[in-house]
């Protein structure tokens, strides 16, 4: 029996949108409020929150250490937007905050106080992953994806990553860790195909 996909719920983030996203692909998920709630399936850390408050709540609930422990054991972690940014060691948001450190790097404000909202193109061929253990019929997802952020992730370790023309890391994959700066749950067909490819 396939276990449920975990969505971290610390009372922040667009959890409902993530549930809808998963539901549209006929997959099942559950919210994780405490350590005992985790299953062995993928763990999704949603976006639409600020790093300071989000990390504060994760630490308070002890979920930070549990996510790190499970990531070290090879459990799939999917960070979306803010969820991607806090996979790094440090975020500049809210005056600076220590993050999970699952991917070596940091989240920094975009240069010259610019913002990045809207749609950009996306292309991902899963066969390009070095440790490709995916056995899916569909190999490529291409289309457009939705961004809404003011910080970008700077990765300081080897990973499979794609950048946009303005040097924003669109997404990064390191072994069992997936980070998406865009919102696949709100990226219409492309987001749906991506979910079905990586889960």
């Amino acid at each position: 029996m396939i276990s449920l996909i975990n969505i971290i719920d610390v009372g922040l983030g667009n959890i409902r949108s993530i549930e809808h996203w998963i539901g549209r692909s006929n997959l099942d998920c559950k919210r994780v409020f405490k350590i005992e709630d985790f299953t062995n399936n993928a763990i999704i850390i949603p976006g639409v929150a600020s790093a300071g408050e989000y990390m504060h709540r994760l630490v308070d609930l002890g979920l930070d250490r549990e996510i790190i422990r499970r990531s070290n054991q090879g459990q799939k972690i999917i960070g979306i937007c803010l969820g991607f940014q806090i996979l790094t060691n440090y975020s500049e948001e809210d005056g600076g905050i220590e993050c999970l450190g699952i991917i070596k790097g940091s989240a920094n404000y975009l240069d010259n106080n610019i913002i990045h909202n809207g749609w950009d193109s996306f292309y991902f061929d899963i066969r390009e992953l070095q440790n490709n253990f995916y056995r899916k019929r569909k190999k490529i997802v291409a289309g457009r994806v939705y961004f809404n952020h003011e910080l970008r992730v700077n990765i300081e370790c080897d990973s499979y990553s794609k950048k946009l023309v303005n040097n924003i890391t669109s997404f990064a994959i390191k072994d069992n860790i997936f980070g998406f700066q865009f919102h696949p749950e709100k990226s219409q067909r492309t987001g749906q195909e991506l979910l079905e490819l990586i889960i």
């Binding site: 922040l12 549209r24 749609w119 709100k186 749906q192």
Partner: protein, 234 residues
């Protein structure tokens, strides 16, 4: 970054999507669920759902937003109208949307904006600014007073600090194809690439908005009637 073509949907207190003309007359379009599903199928770039209210909100918005949360759509969503200090914790606790849209808070409630920033991030904050130009002054609608108010120069600094983007709605042309009043750009002090425009938009207005490197447009009645092809406008 591509030019965005979004759509604004107004909801009445019964939860119906309504069409607005001249910032006043409302006509029921149908159930909100159906309207959102249509827009999602059209693949508009984003949807703004607004509960237009005047004066103090009676928390009806909270119920409307709660009902809305069960609608599964894959298009980015912003909500506005009736988000207050009293209900923001509840609204931000389980969002089905990505952005919050504010009007009266522009004038009064920086504490509320700070709270939203701490819960949802600065990128989620959008200002809705219905405007008219009267006697060579820019007047912006304030829903709390149900009136258009003169925007002082110093307010723009606050708007720049507090908001990720603004939506300029030409109230005089709303609901028509009368043309958007681009003269508003003589008055605003906000980066063009963080501005969306709405109200009275014609196809040539949309081309002009693109040429000005605006963030995008929000079309309402015409998107809902499929009078414009969304893909063609991008």
């Amino acid at each position: 970054m591509s030019f965005r073509v979004g759509s604004t949907v107004l909801i009445d207190f019964s939860g119906n999507a309504v069409q607005s003309y001249n910032f006043n007359t409302k006509r029921i379009l149908g159930k909100l669920r159906q309207v959102l599903k249509f827009l999602d199928a059209y693949e508009v770039d984003e949807i703004h759902v607004i509960v237009p209210y005047k004066g103090k909100n009676n928390n009806r918005s909270l119920q409307i937003f709660s009902d809305l949360s069960n609608i599964s759509i894959s298009t980015p969503l912003g909500i506005g109208g009736g988000i207050t200090m009293e209900n923001i914790e509840i609204i931000a606790q389980d969002p089905f949307f990505e952005r919050c849209i504010f009007n009266s808070a522009i004038f009064y409630d920086t504490q509320l904006l700070k709270k939203v920033k701490s819960l949802m991030g600065h990128q989620s904050l959008v200002a809705s600014m219905p405007f008219i130009i009267k006697n060579n002054d820019l007047m912006v609608y304030n829903s709390m007073d149900d009136n258009f108010k003169l925007i002082k120069k110093e307010v723009w600094k606050e708007i720049n600090n507090n908001f990720n983007e603004i939506i300029l709605l030409d109230a005089a042309s709303e609901g028509s194809k009368g043309g958007f009043n681009f003269k508003v750009f003589d008055y605003i002090e906000f980066p063009n690439d963080r501005v969306l425009i709405s109200g009275g938009l014609t196809k040539s207005d949309i081309r002009k908005a693109k040429n000005m490197d605006l963030a995008g447009v929000s079309i309402d009645n015409f998107a809902l009637h499929s009078e414009y092809s969304i893909k063609g406008l991008r």
